[in-house]
């Protein structure tokens, strides 16, 4: 009989603590950062403030800012992973050893992909949605504020599990999508894949709930007069993106659940014997995974569609074709998933279908690129840092698009499959498309929520570092792919002559790293010099309603809700000088703070942790707690408080006095 203690804590024992020097370094670094945060909060007596103003807040703007902070911190961790991967390949790959073992190398690339997609790109995306969408459609909040808070805390719970794997146990070595049978119990008996499964599952359910929330918000809470075809283009891109979330994320939820059951209770969905079918997993995960790419990139397109007209002093060229292109991409993105595994052997006809569909989906994307360029044409273009990001995006994204068309030909794909060419291609789309787009958006909307600009010159330097660094980092990766280098290699034969190109790629990463340092400096410097960088409420000469709101945006967003008359409503208001509202001021209902979202999220994370380590009694307690919390959250009465006309007037006046 095993000791009671061992049974009670499932698989968890002191063995789970890290042993190798690199991981210990990571844990110590991360732990010290957390400790520093805790100490600072305690020293400045800010715990109550944190709890009241942030953790329990249902204000969409605060939730948006919290998403951003978490995502940016995770970006730094994901980037640290990149540095380790590239250092290994450039310095030690051709020799033997180095500080990173083969097993750790696999954990690092799995963590890099998972973090960058789920906790950085998705985090910044939902942060931007929370900040911008209600303001753009002239609403006071999202449709379901409590659900919004639950989504956020589920995202945080997933992120915490992901990082906990560093300190307790291990992370998956099966890549960011964990193909079985490698990710099955037989070949990955440890806790790594379980950490991957639960952190993604919990965060993914949060994304799914957010998808419902934002679609309902956009469809039911637009200001009067804002018909669908008068909606700002960023909001349209969000419609496409959230529709994809709703179609794709349920597939992810089901697929992860099946792999979890395979690993936990011994089902045989994706095992290689007893009738299981690993290729079913690959099909399902890409039926989610390909739309996921568009979930990320559509809002980035939306950001650029807002930025280019504002900085060209012209209305967006071809609004209707832009909307149609967005919707076409939304639908078509579900017809291309098989191009991720042409080599599966589905037959020439199936491959031909998916190859042709992949080429077709390039067409609406091309439409958008031309629309942006025609918007700039004959406009009064000002080369601000968001526009530098845009121009970097057009060049790199088009390059990536071309290599994508190349890969869409099944015959060529058979050569490129699983090579570094593919790695270069999708980094080209994600960095050149999504990351540049989100950075441009952050720079553009920053003054709206803080009241001051980000320092322009540093912003431009950062953008240039990213653009140049990206090209230096990934053009060699393309070439290496053509030379036959497979992805995920921690070592290779020196006689292949690859090391030079890997070194160039590592130099590129360092240039990007310089960009990251400049960005951190930019934020710090801008906060320091915030008085000199102060921004008016219409910071850039904007065209849409968010620029009509006060800066920083009050909790109720808009004091009165006037009828919208045109597509670029705020621009039109400025042209016609119609700022005096005819509507009367009414009391405003706002959601009260609640800890329900935080508690549900953290308990979900606890359930995940308990299942990973097979601590069954804790699972039972966790499930009962979550059910109880959901019931409690549902039975809450008086979920809103009323802001009286007097209070609104007082606030509006004080804003005016401050010259905002």
């Amino acid at each position: 009989m095993k000791g009671w203690g061992i049974d009670m804590w499932g698989r968890l024992s002191l063995e789970a603590l890290p042993h190798d020097i690199v991981t210990i370094g990571g844990v110590v670094g991360g732990g010290l950062a957390v400790l520093a945060g805790v100490a600072a909060l305690t020293y400045f007596k800010k715990w109550g403030w944190l709890w009241r103003e942030w953790i329990t807040s249902l204000d969409h703007k605060k939730i948006g800012i919290m998403y951003m902070i978490v995502a940016v911190v995770m970006l730094l961790r994901g980037f640290a992973d990149t540095l380790m991967l590239r250092a290994q390949q450039a310095v030690f790959g051709a020799g033997d050893g180095g500080p990173i073992s083969a097993d750790l190398f696999q954990q690092v690339f799995s963590a890099h992909g998972t973090i960058m997609i789920f906790f950085v790109a998705m985090g910044i995306l939902f942060g931007a949605l929370n900040l911008i969408v209600p303001l753009q459609i002239g609403a006071r909040d999202v449709a379901f504020p409590l659900l919004n808070s639950i989504s956020f805390w589920l995202f945080v719970a997933g992120m915490m599990l992901m990082n906990l794997s560093l300190a307790i146990g291990e992370f998956s070595t099966a890549g960011w999508l964990a193909y079985p049978p490698l990710s099955g119990l037989e070949y990955s008996p440890g806790t790594g894949v379980d950490y991957w499964l639960w952190s993604i599952q919990i965060a993914g359910i949060g994304s799914l709930l957010s998808g419902i929330n934002f679609l309902v918000t956009i469809f039911t809470m637009r200001r009067k007069g804002m018909t669908l075809m008068k909606m700002p283009i960023f909001t349209w891109s969000v419609v496409g993106s959230m529709a994809l979330v709703l179609w794709a994320f349920p597939i992810l939820t089901a697929t992860l659940a099946m792999l979890t059951l395979d690993r936990t209770i011994g089902t045989n969905f994706f095992t290689s014997d007893l009738g299981g079918n690993p290729m079913m997993y690959v099909n399902l995960i890409w039926a989610w995974g390909h739309p996921e790419v568009y979930i990320l990139v559509l809002p980035a397109f939306g950001v650029f569609s807002e930025i280019v007209p504002v900085f060209s002093r012209k209305k967006l060229f071809g609004y209707k074709s832009m909307v149609m292109a967005l919707m076409a991409i939304t639908v078509l993105s579900f017809t291309v998933w098989l191009h991720h595994f042409f080599t599966m052997g589905a037959g020439a006809n199936v491959n031909a279908f998916f190859g042709i569909m992949t080429m077709i989906i390039g067409i609406p994307t091309g439409v958008k690129v031309f629309n942006w360029i025609f918007t700039m044409y004959k406009g009064k273009v000002s080369f601000t840092s968001p526009m530098i990001w845009f121009m970097g995006f057009v060049v790199t994204f088009t390059l990536g698009g071309l290599t994508g068309v190349l890969l869409s030909v099944p015959g060529i794909d058979f050569q490129m499959h699983n090579s570094l060419f593919l790695v270069a291609h999708f980094h080209n789309m994600i960095i050149g498309g999504v990351v540049f787009g989100l950075f441009a958006g952050i720079t553009y909307w920053w003054p709206k929520f803080t009241g001051f600009y980000l320092h322009e010159k540093l912003g431009k330097i950062a953008a240039l570092c990213w653009i140049v660094g990206f090209l230096v980092a990934f053009v060699p990766i393309y070439i290496l792919g053509l030379m036959g280098a497979a992805r995920r290699l921690d070592s290779y034969d020196p006689s292949l002559g690859w090391q030079g190109l890997f070194v160039v790629a590592a130099v590129g990463v360092l240039i990007i790293g310089l960009g990251v340092v400049v960005q951190v400096a930019q934020v710090a410097y801008s906060i320091w010099k915030r008085k000199e960088l102060r921004a008016p409420h219409d910071a850039w000469g904007g065209r849409t309603l968010e620029w009509y709101a006060h800066t920083p945006v009050p909790e109720y967003n808009f004091a009165v809700l006037d009828t919208v008359k045109s597509r670029d409503e705020f621009w039109q208001m400025k042209q016609e000088n119609r700022f005096r509202s005819k509507s009367t001021l009414l009391p405003i209902e706002l959601p009260k703070n609640t800890s329900a979202g935080f508690l549900i999220g953290m308990t979900a994370g606890l359930i995940g942790f308990a299942v990973i380590w097979h601590i069954w009694w804790l699972v039972v307690i966790g499930v009962i707690a979550v059910v109880g919390l959901v019931i409690w959250a549902n039975l809450r009465e008086e979920t809103e408080f009323e802001l009286s006309v007097g209070e609104i007037l007082r606030h509006e006046k004080s804003m005016k006095r401050a010259g905002l």
């Binding site: 039911t220 099946m258 059951l261 299981g276 039975l635």
Partner: protein, 193 residues
């Protein structure tokens, strides 16, 4: 019913709940697709024909369909503000739901005791998880129903409780619909093939 439908909905929450149901539908769609793909994966063990007890399944089906009917009756009673009658119909729904779940668990128990558990083959994994996911939804529905009846008894009918009951009715009908697909695709087509 049209009257009732208008009364029991709030535009935002019913649209949100409809969208949620559609995402749930996609979870079931993924499980159905997996089931169909894994159907031949019996690993030399029993196939659908060998293990399904159709009389039991038919009983289950009729019970669930009846429970959908009783939810409808409860909603009619509520629309007439007849809370007492509504609670009786909701209680009937609850009992039928519990009966359905009991039969399902009995069926699962028999299969496991005969050695046909979810571990035996991919086909059985897919069967247990598809049908079990539906059962889990029924269980959640029953907890939800219980809480709502208690709230109804304590706080009476207000805009919030009527809205929630309207959503619950949608949820329950949706589960009924999913079961019809399970009955057809898993059981009827399984036995017929």
């Amino acid at each position: 019913m049209k009257q009732a439908a208008v009364k029991f909905t709030n535009y935002k929450s019913s649209l949100g709940f409809w969208i949620y149901l559609m995402t749930d539908c996609l979870i079931f769609a993924s499980l159905f697709a997996t089931y169909i793909v894994l159907l031949p994966g019996t690993a030399g063990g029993p196939g659908p024909k060998d293990i399904f007890q159709m009389p039991l399944v038919l009983t289950e089906t009729l019970i669930l369909l009846t429970s959908s009917f009783t939810v409808g009756l409860a909603m009619i009673a509520l629309s007439k503000k007849n809370i007492k009658q509504a609670i009786w119909w909701l209680a009937a729904t609850y009992i039928l739901g519990v009966a359905f779940l009991t039969i399902e668990l009995f069926e699962f128990g028999v299969l496991v005791s005969e050695g046909h558990s979810w571990q035996a083959s991919a086909f059985l994994s897919a069967f247990f998880v598809l049908v079990g996911t539906h059962g889990l939804h029924i269980l959640i529905g029953l907890i939800w129903l219980l809480v709502m009846v208690i709230v109804l008894l304590r706080r009476g009918l207000n805009s919030k409780s009527s809205r929630q009951l309207g959503l619950f009715a949608m949820y329950w009908h949706f589960l009924d619909l999913v079961w019809i697909f399970i009955f057809t695709i898993v059981y009827l087509m399984g036995v017929a093939s």
